[in-house]
């Protein structure tokens, strides 16, 4: 990875950062648009294959820097956990149990829709997790990426990369503005196990509740840490079997499921 030789990428990021921060936080009613969202969209437009501004290799360099830059965000969030440790300890039950929501929420909401849309066994791979890299590895090992399950997890991975952060940022902003759920609960919800999605989601909660900024980040950071530690095991031993069982159950109600399975 020739980080310094690809100066074009860094120059573009500099330009994007200057533009995005100048635009600042934009609010339309319930919708909050953060600088990080401007940056994601501007970057996406610049990298659009039709414009031929960046080569695939340069895009890969950008993708390689992403997880390293993310480490600095992890530091920033980690530094909020120490001072709030007693607060977090006071809500250890919530921190532990909310993970159930993280791991099964994808199946409960996603699988019925996938089955309804007749996606066949791809439904299992597509909805058993948030389809980040460790989840792809699990499916690759159990079914192979050429299997329907493998195509499903890759589809959610690609689509999630493109729309996940944007969607979570806007969704979280709307839910936060509705004021039904406490910002601490939302903060834990945002620890979905993907750095950019968490950043987008946490940003929207903070924009809605700026006076609780530090606690919000502490809860999000703690929840994200739990997702990182537990993630692989829970999705392998619980989420995947649940998704498979639920798929077999739901597809019983579709008379022509075998033919559909072949087509997708």
């Amino acid at each position: 990875m020739d980080i310094l030789r690809n100066w074009k990428i860094h120059l573009l990021v500099l330009i994007i950062v200057v533009m995005s921060e100048n635009l600042g936080v934009i609010k339309y009613g319930l919708i909050i648009l953060l600088p990080l969202l401007h940056a994601l969209v501007l970057g996406g437009i610049i990298s659009f294959p039709k414009f031929k501004i960046l080569s695939t290799k340069q895009m890969e360099v950008a993708a390689g820097i992403l997880p390293i830059a993310m480490m600095l965000l992890i530091v920033k969030i980690g530094l909020d956990i120490g001072p709030n440790l007693s607060l977090l300890f006071h809500s250890k039950g919530a921190l532990l149990l909310q993970e159930i929501g993280h791991f099964f929420g994808t199946v409960i909401l996603g699988l019925p829709i996938a089955v309804f849309l007749r996606m066949g066994r791809e439904s299992i791979g597509a909805t058993y997790s948030v389809a980040r890299e460790p989840n792809i590895a699990i499916i690759a090992e159990k079914f192979g990426l050429d299997s329907p399950e493998g195509r499903g997890v890759m589809a959610t991975y690609i689509c999630g990369t493109l729309v996940g952060a944007v969607w979570l940022s806007i969704l979280t902003g709307v839910v936060a503005k509705l004021g039904i759920l406490h910002p601490y609960a939302l903060a834990m919800g945002s620890g979905v196990g993907s750095g950019s999605m968490m950043a987008a989601s946490v940003g929207s909660i903070i924009a809605a509740y700026p006076d609780m900024e530090q606690q919000i980040r502490a809860y999000a950071g703690a929840a994200n840490l739990m997702s990182t530690i537990l993630g692989i095991y829970v999705s392998l031993f619980f989420s995947l079997p649940l998704a498979t069982k639920l798929y077999n159950f739901l597809s019983k109600f579709q008379s022509d499921k075998e033919t559909v399975k072949e087509k997708v």
Binding site: I16, L117, M119, V163
Partner: protein
């Protein structure tokens, strides 16, 4: 250049971009922004070093970087108040913007793959993301109430 050197360069570079955003977007002065980012980078590098220790390297780097940052920020850790005061000057949103800019610039290669997928994956992905976020938040809300934390 080996992998760790590359990572160090990338951390410093993205840190500088965060400092730029911090000055432009949140009217923090250059000195505080650069100092804050420098401290964050140093903590990141310590975490990176810890994650390379044989035996400890079984867990991912993101875990060790979190742990190092948490320990340094504990009130009983020497100098933690100074670290927190210095790094507070770097706004959370300023840290996120360059990261998402890099993410954005890498999207082009996924757009081609995306075109080959059925439209069905869009509602399914949105449901997956909504489900994981909302169900966790709803459970957290009930348990926080029950624990008397809110």
């Amino acid at each position: 250049m080996n992998k760790l050197q590359n990572m160090t360069v990338a951390m410093i570079l993205s840190g500088l971009l965060m400092a730029v955003g911090n000055v432009i977007g949140y009217q923090v002065d250059w000195y505080s922004s650069l100092l804050g980012v420098l401290v964050i980078i140093v903590i990141g590098l310590i975490g990176m070093a810890v994650s390379q220790v044989p035996g400890l390297n079984k867990l991912p780097m993101v875990f060790w970087i979190s742990i190092v940052a948490i320990i340094i920020s504990l009130p009983s850790f020497p100098g933690s108040a100074w670290v927190i005061q210095i790094t507070k000057k770097v706004q959370f949103l300023a840290v996120t913007t360059p990261i998402l800019a890099y993410a954005g610039l890498s999207l082009g290669k996924d757009i081609e793959l995306f075109k080959k997928l059925s439209w069905k994956i869009v509602p399914v992905t949105l449901a997956v993301m909504t489900g994981t976020f909302l169900f966790a938040a709803i459970i957290a809300q009930f348990v926080l109430k029950w624990e008397g934390a809110i």
